[in-house]
């Protein structure tokens, strides 16, 4: 072989991007940090797990089926979701987690040189996907912990293709009401696609939370993201979805990847739709757990924010990355928020009772160490 000049083959925006490195598996972390067990409170999972029907489906699942390809685009699941949200199944597109759906949307609407608009302190994947696709992420500062509609509108120019609104926002738990999202859609006035990432929508109990499927009727440029990872306790199976008006969905369909969602995920997800009792039980857990963390925060003199979702944020009087390591050394994994542009804050998922107790004890010790 003559000289292989890899750099020549790699676009500048890929070369400039640093690959995301997920944290190692628990056994490795336990060894490195010298702990027998690790409570994971860093990924906003559901401590209750999947609903009964999904458990039963998985228990009855026959391993022989693993040899077969799944149906390619979630035929039955899309119909179930269509019935539940009163939309046409063709408006629904599945992905290997909502993360994959973000990629479908960026691929469908953006080319290098375009931009997307989102917040500076929100879920990172919009920003990352744009960056390594040669698309400029325009990051608008949050205002009072919430997405700033005015400033986002100001950031739009003729190369803006997609606006990402994380509603409720990870990590602050703030959210736009139905009328706020409606007004925003009016003001965008079809100039760009608007994504409402509703990964945590099922945790919102307030009736003022948007009915985005209804808004879609009047605003054909609105896309809604949902996931089975959070409320539905299927994060390990990797399945999420989006819905949009028929023409927008048909466009995203072109850049979506058929057969990307596995059989087990599709069947388990279908079994969850739409288990109200599970939703109620999960919400009850979150209420109790949130109140307990609020009490802890008060005892320790820490500011806590976040009313919606399965997580809260705490402001520490010390470095969050140092607190993260010290908590790891006590068998508790929370999320350090410097990388979310919240230096000094910790995000903690509202997990199982034993993990929350371990967190409370460990945090108190870490703060005492200073």
């Amino acid at each position: 072989m003559t000289e292989f000049a890899l750099d020549r083959l790699v676009p500048a925006h890929v070369r400039a991007f640093e690959a995301y490195v997920p944290s190692p598996p628990d056994d490795v972390l336990c060894r490195r940090f010298g702990v027998p067990h690790l409570h994971r409170l860093n990924n906003n999972e559901n401590p209750i797990g999947p609903p009964e029907a999904a458990r039963a489906m998985m228990a009855a699942w026959k391993p022989e089926q693993a040899a077969l390809y799944p149906q390619g685009d979630g035929w039955h699941l899309r119909r179930a979701l269509g019935r539940r949200f009163d939309i046409d199944p063709e408006q629904v597109i599945l992905g290997n987690g909502a993360n994959e759906v973000i990629a479908f949307v960026i691929k469908a609407f953006c080319e290098p040189g375009d931009n997307i608009v989102t917040a500076d302190r929100t879920f990172a994947v919009y920003e990352w996907l744009a960056s390594f696709s040669g698309v400029e992420p325009r990051l608008v500062p949050l205002r009072d912990y919430a997405f700033d509609a005015e400033a986002m509108l100001d950031a739009i120019d003729d190369r803006t293709r997609v606006l990402f609104v994380c509603n409720p926002n990870n990590p602050t738990g703030t959210w736009w009401r139905h009328d706020e999202l409606d007004r925003f859609m009016e003001a965008v006035d079809g100039r760009a696609i608007v994504v409402a990432d509703e990964a945590y929508a099922e945790f919102a109990e307030d009736p003022a939370f948007p009915d985005s499927f209804a808004l879609m009727q009047r605003h054909p440029n609105l896309i809604v993201f949902r996931t089975f990872s959070k409320m539905w306790g299927l994060a390990g199976l990797r399945i999420g979805w989006m819905a949009a008006s028929p023409d927008v969905a048909a466009t995203v369909k072109k850049t979506s990847i058929s057969y990307s969602v596995n059989i087990l995920a599709m069947e388990a997800a279908r079994a969850t739709v739409w288990d109200e009792a599970h939703v109620q039980a999960t919400r009850a857990h979150m209420r109790g757990s949130r109140a307990a963390v609020a009490a802890l925060a008060q005892k320790l003199g820490l500011t806590m924010i976040g009313d919606v979702g399965n997580f809260v944020m705490l402001k520490l009087p010390m470095s969050d990355t140092v607190a993260h390591r010290r908590l790891m050394g006590r068998g508790v994994m929370a999320r350090a928020m410097t990388s979310f542009r919240y230096p000094g804050w910790l995000r903690v998922s509202l997990g199982p009772a034993d993990a929350m107790a371990a967190f409370a004890g460990a945090l108190e010790e870490v703060l005492a160490e200073g």
Partner: protein
């Protein structure tokens, strides 16, 4: 595609003059002044001349880095004997005939090394541009207060900040020579945030520059407001803007080797102490930008106690392992980065081999003889090979000073103040 002029020539003295002429002509054609072109040419001549014949074709590339010109020398052959690159191996170097790379490294302001595919090695010799001294420009009295968030400044604002900082001797060496700072920034070798007052005049600045592959070194802040004014608020605003611009990229952490008294300490951890010439010490500060998921630390026995204690104190999750001896028996070499003005030299591993300890000790002795007053070494504990240098460094009087965390390889900073 890069348009940097490049040539490939056989190693050895016969082609050294040709390489030198080529580099000199290219430097002049690229707008370098005579002095700079001559220094680059000398380096090319010395390196080619001292390279062993088995090095095959040696690549020479000249690139304009605005504030410096860089001569990159590529050795593509694997398993080279590059011991000749090591300054300490020259024995009585000043008298020796083949003064070679010893001289080359001394002619450069900075020597960097980078592995190439299939066992090759790239040496980067940077020679800085000369900037004429700047006329002093003093900041006006009635500056401030700060207005709005700190910004990534335009050239005029950045230049003004540096001029005012220079006149008031603020911020340290990074805040000197406005034209150089602008060139460094344009080259991607320096980043800045500047706080402004309501009239858009700079009231303070904070800089950062690459420190290894995944870290940045913070300098400053330079605060132009008088004592008592909201200086702390300016420092906070600068740091906040810096952090917002730095996260979610490849940078894992910020290190502060020379903390200014105005650097906000909250959020930083002290990862060690550096000795000053007067026998006192000052803290090395660090701030991680990303979660540390743990990693491996290759620690030689001579440093095991210190590194283990530091790792515990910093609550780092590390598998601490003892490295095997390097496979290669001989031919170890170190790279040296010198800062003559400050009498500082920093040694790094170039090639590890069984004789690494002796080579390390030799390097320390060499620079000590030359009157360097601050001798430092940096070992990447993520690379099992580098541990081999530790014993020699310690024998020569260096002690571990700071452990700079990076899950992909903590950096151990050793230091001796003479």
């Amino acid at each position: 595609m890069s348009l940097d002029p490049r040539a490939q020539l056989p190693a050895g003295p016969r082609h050294a003059g040709i390489g030198a002429g080529f580099i000199r002509d290219c430097a002049l054609a690229g707008g370098a002044e005579e002095r700079l072109a001559n220094r680059l040419a000398l380096i090319a001549e010395e390196v080619l001349g001292a390279a062993p014949a088995n090095a095959g074709l040696v690549g020479l590339t000249l690139s304009d880095r605005r504030h410096a010109m860089r001569l990159s020398v590529d050795f593509t052959a694997a398993d080279l004997d590059l011991a000749g690159l090591d300054q300490s191996r020259r024995g009585d170097a000043e008298d020796a005939e083949e003064i070679g790379l010893y001289l080359a490294a001394r002619l450069a302001d900075r020597l960097t090394t980078e592995p190439l595919d299939r066992g090759g090695l790239r040496l980067g010799f940077d020679v800085g541009r000369a900037y004429p001294p700047q006329a002093a420009a003093t900041a006006p009295e009635a500056l401030g207060p700060i207005s709005g968030a700190a910004v990534d400044p335009d050239d005029a604002t950045l230049a003004l900040l540096v001029q005012w900082a220079e006149a008031a001797e603020l911020g340290g060496p990074a805040f000197r020579l406005a034209p150089r700072v602008l060139d460094q920034r344009a080259q991607g070798d320096l980043f800045a945030r500047v706080a402004l007052d309501a009239r858009k005049r700079p009231v303070g600045g904070l800089f950062w520059q690459p420190f290894g592959r995944r870290l940045m070194e913070l300098s400053g802040p330079a605060l132009l407001l008088p004592d008592g004014a909201d200086r702390a608020a300016v420092a906070e605003a600068l740091l906040e803007a810096a952090l917002a611009g730095l996260v979610r990229k490849k940078i894992q952490g910020l290190v502060v080797l020379e903390p200014s008294p105005d650097m906000p300490r909250q959020g930083f951890e002290t990862v060690g102490q550096l000795p000053a010439a007067d026998g006192t010490t000052w803290p090395v500060l660090f701030r991680a930008l990303e979660e540390d998921p743990g990693g491996i630390s290759w620690v030689p026995p001579v440093l095991a106690d210190w590194v283990t204690a530091a790792t515990r104190r910093l609550a780092l999750g590390r598998d601490i392992e003892e490295p095997a001896r390097p496979k290669r028996a001989t031919g170890a070499a170190m790279a040296a980065e010198t800062d003559r003005a400050r009498g500082r030299v920093t040694l790094r591993s170039l090639i590890a081999a069984g004789d690494a300890a002796a080579v390390a000790a030799g390097n320390v002795a060499l620079f000590r003889d030359q009157g360097f007053s601050e001798i430092r070494a940096i070992l990447d504990l993520g690379k099992p090979d580098q541990a081999a240098f530790a014993e020699g460094l310690v024998k020569a009087g260096l002690s571990p000073a700071a452990l700079i965390p990076d899950a992909a390889g903590d950096l151990l900073l050793l230091a001796a103040a003479e």
